[in-house]
C-alpha cells in the first residue's frame, strides 16, 4: 500500500473576488523510498499540494490518505501528532522556535527521546550532512536564506520522518549546495526508505529524483510512462537503473 495517496484532490481559494483553483483533481501515490519531484512555476499549486498532503489543509474534494488512513477522518490532534512524528515538512518560509540557537532548534525534536547532549550531537551531524555546520551556534537572523532552508531541512530530517514534504528546498542555493541537498534527499530515500515529495521551479534540480512530475494550473502532469494503461512497474525499474548509473 502506498504511504501517501492522493485521489482526485481539489482545492479552491478565494482571491479577492475571484476563485482560484489551486488543485484540480490531483492523483498521486508515493511509496516508501520514493523520491518524487514536482516541477511547477509559481502559482501552479505546489505549496498547496504539499500542505494538503501534510494534512495542514483539508481538500475541498477527493481523498488524502497517509499510511492507508484517510487524513480527513482523523482528529485534529492526530494530524498534529503526525506532523511531529511521521511527516516532516520543509517550508519556504522557515521559522525557528523563538529564543533557541539553531543547534537547539534542530535538536529539539530529539530532546524528549534522548539526552540533551546526545540530541545536540545528532543535530550537529545532521547540520553537517546538509552542509551548514557553521550555522550551529548562530541565531536565526544571522543566517542567509540558503542556510535557513537547510536548517529547516535538518530540523525535518532529525525526527526521522517516514514522509518528507519539501517545498523548494533547493531555492537560494548555489550549484554545489544544491547538489549536496539533493544528494542528502536521495540518500535518505534510498537508504532510510523515506518517501520524499519535493518541489522546484526548474527541471535540472529534479533529475536527481526517482520520479518527475509537472504541476500546472493545479493539474499534475505525469510522464507518459506513468499513465494508466502502461506498465505499472516501470517507474520502479527506472529508479533502479537510475541508482546504479
Amino acid at each position: 500500500m502506498a504511504l501517501l495517496s492522493l485521489d482526485g484532490v481539489t482545492k479552491r481559494y478565494a482571491r479577492g473576488y475571484r476563485e482560484v483553483e489551486a488543485l484540480a483533481g490531483v492523483g498521486l501515490e508515493v511509496e516508501a523510498g520514493d523520491f518524487v519531484a514536482i516541477w511547477g512555476a509559481s502559482r501552479s499549486g505546489k505549496t498547496t499540494l504539499l500542505r494538503v498532503a501534510a494534512g495542514i489543509e483539508a481538500p475541498d474534494g477527493g481523498r488524502v490518505a497517509f499510511d492507508g488512513h484517510d487524513l480527513a477522518a482523523r482528529s485534529r490532534r492526530t494530524r498534529a501528532r503526525l506532523l511531529l512524528t511521521d511527516i516532516g515538512c520543509v517550508w519556504q518560509t522557515g521559522r525557528i522556535t523563538r529564543g533557541l540557537s539553531v543547534l537547539d532548534h534542530v535538536a529539539l525534536p530529539r530532546f524528549k527521546q534522548s539526552s540533551h547532549a546526545q540530541a545536540r550531537g545528532e543535530a550537529h551531524d545532521v547540520l553537517e550532512r546538509v552542509g551548514v555546520p557553521q550555522a550551529a551556534g548562530a541565531r536565526w537572523h544571522e543566517l542567509t536564506d540558503g542556510e535557513r532552508t537547510r536548517v529547516a531541512l535538518a530540523h525535518a530530517l532529525i525526527r526521522r520522518p517516514r514522509l518528507l514534504l519539501a517545498d523548494e528546498p533547493t531555492a537560494n542555493l548555489n550549484m554545489i549546495e544544491r547538489e549536496q541537498v539533493l544528494g542528502v534527499l536521495r540518500s535518505v530515500a534510498d537508504e532510510a526508505g523515506v518517501a520524499i515529495v519535493m518541489t522546484a521551479p526548474d527541471a535540472p534540480n529534479l533529475l536527481q529524483s526517482h520520479r518527475l512530475m509537472s504541476l500546472d494550473g493545479g493539474r499534475l502532469i505525469k510522464p507518459r510512462s506513468e499513465q494508466p494503461g502502461t506498465l505499472i512497474d516501470f517507474p520502479r525499474a527506472g529508479r533502479r537503473a537510475g541508482r546504479s548509473g
Binding site: 527541471a203 533529475l207 526517482h210 518527475l212 512530475m213 493539474r219 502532469i221 507518459r224 548509473g245
Partner: protein, 361 residues
C-alpha cells in the same frame, strides 16, 4: 319544293358531313405531323447540342492538356485558406510552369492527376487534394512549406543529419579504429540518446566515407593488437575501419567550421498553426499531452550525472563533454515545457474571452 342551293340538298347533307368528316382528319394529321416534326427536330437539336458540347469539352480538355497544364494550375491558385494562401499560390506557379508535358502524361497515365477534377464536389477540398496529389513527395516546395513526410524525416534525418553522422563516424574512427556496431555503441555513449541514431546510418556513412577515400577497411585479423573482437557472434569476420590521413584532415576541417542548426519542426506547431479558435479546448489538452511526452523524455536523463555535479567534481573531458551534450536536451525540453505552460495560459485566457479574438480580426 326544295330550293336548289349551291351545295345542293341531296348532295348537300352528305357533302356537309363529308366535308366536316374530311376536314377533321387533315387538321389532326397536320397537328400530329407538326408535333412529330417538332419532336424530331427537337431531338436532333438536343443531340446536336449534346454532341457539340461533348465535342467541345473533349476538345477543350485536349487543348488544355496539350498547351501545358493551364487547367491544373487554375485549381491550385484557388486557395481559400487564409494563412497559407500567399505561399501556396506563389509556389504553385513556378511548379506549374516548370511542369513538362511528359510529366503531365505520366501523371494522367498513373491516374494521380485525373481523379480529383471529376470526383471532388467541394471546391475547397479539391485544390488541397490536388496540391498534395499532383506533386510527388520529392517536390521541394512541399517539403519546405508543409513537410508532409515529417515523422519519417525526423526518424531518418534529413540531408544535414546524414552529413553530421558521416563526420561523427569519421571522428569516432579518428579516436580509434572500429567496426560498425562498435561505432554505434560509441556514438550512443558519447552523444547520448537524444540524437535517436538510426544504427543503419552508421553503415551508410561508412560506405560513403570509404567511397570518398576518407576511411579504409582493414582486413579482419591483420592487426593482432586489436582490442576489439574481430568476429561476430556467428563467426562472420568483422570489417574494421580506420581513418585515412585525408579523412583526418577532413575531420579537422569539419571541426573548425561553424555548425548548421536543425530547423525546429514539431508536429504540434503545425496543429497549432492550422487550428481554429473552436479547437482551443482540444489544443489545451494537446499541450498537456505534449508536456507528458516532454517529461517522459526528461525521465531518460533522470539519475544521470547532473551537469552541476560534474562541474563540482573533477572529471575527464570526454565525460564533461558528453554531459554537456545531454544537458542540451534537458535545456531544450525544459524550455519546451515552459513554452507549453505559457501558451496554455494564453489559450485559457482566450477561451474565457472569445471576443478578444474577434476584435483582432
Amino acid at each position: 319544293m326544295k330550293p336548289p342551293t349551291a351545295d345542293g340538298q341531296p348532295a348537300g347533307a352528305p357533302p356537309v358531313g363529308c366535308v366536316e368528316a374530311g376536314a377533321a382528319p387533315p387538321v389532326a394529321c397536320v397537328v400530329v405531323c407538326v408535333v412529330v416534326v417538332v419532336v424530331v427536330a427537337g431531338a436532333v437539336v438536343v443531340c446536336t447540342v449534346v454532341v457539340a458540347v461533348v465535342a467541345a469539352v473533349v476538345i477543350g480538355v485536349l487543348a488544355c492538356v496539350v498547351t501545358g497544364g493551364g487547367v491544373s494550375v487554375a485549381p491550385l491558385s484557388l486557395e481559400p485558406l487564409e494563412p497559407q494562401a500567399p505561399t501556396a499560390s506563389a509556389t504553385s506557379r513556378p511548379s506549374g510552369s516548370a511542369r513538362t508535358r511528359g510529366s503531365i502524361w505520366m501523371m494522367l497515365a498513373s491516374g494521380v492527376g485525373g481523379t480529383p477534377r471529376g470526383g471532388q464536389p467541394e471546391p475547397v477540398a479539391s485544390p488541397t487534394r490536388l496540391r498534395y496529389a499532383r506533386v510527388p513527395g520529392a517536390s521541394q516546395w512541399v517539403g519546405r512549406s508543409f513537410e508532409l513526410r515529417f515523422p519519417v524525416e525526423r526518424r531518418q534525418g534529413g540531408a544535414n543529419d546524414t552529413m553530421s553522422v558521416k563526420y561523427a563516424v569519421l571522428g569516432l574512427l579518428a579516436q580509434r579504429r572500429g567496426y560498425g556496431y562498435d561505432l554505434v555503441q560509441r556514438f550512443e555513449e558519447q552523444v547520448g540518446p537524444a540524437w535517436q541514431l538510426n544504427a543503419g546510418a552508421i553503415y551508410v556513412a561508412l560506405d560513403k566515407l570509404e567511397q570518398e577515400g576518407l576511411v579504409k577497411p582493414l582486413v579482419a585479423g591483420d592487426g593482432a593488437d586489436q582490442p576489439v573482437r574481430r568476429r561476430t557472434a556467428r563467426g562472420a569476420p568483422r570489417v574494421i575501419y580506420e581513418a585515412t590521413p585525408q579523412g583526418l584532415e577532413r575531420f579537422e576541417d569539419w571541426m573548425a567550421t561553424g555548425s548548421s542548426m536543425a530547423p525546429l519542426r514539431e508536429e504540434l506547431h503545425l496543429k497549432l498553426a492550422l487550428s481554429q479558435p473552436r479547437n482551443l479546448a482540444r489544443l489545451i489538452e494537446l499541450t498537456y499531452e505534449q508536456e507528458e511526452a516532454c517529461l517522459e523524455r526528461l525521465e531518460q536523463h533522470r539519475g544521470g550525472t547532473a551537469f552541476d555535479d560534474l562541474l563540482a567534481s573533477a572529471q575527464p573531458w570526454p565525460a564533461v563533454a558528453s554531459v554537456m551534450v545531454r544537458d542540451a536536451e534537458v535545456a531544450h525540453l525544459q524550455a519546451t515545457v515552459h513554452w507549453l505552460r505559457s501558451i496554455r495560459e494564453a489559450m485559457r485566457w482566450l477561451q474565457e474571452r472569445p471576443e478578444a479574438l474577434r476584435s483582432r480580426g
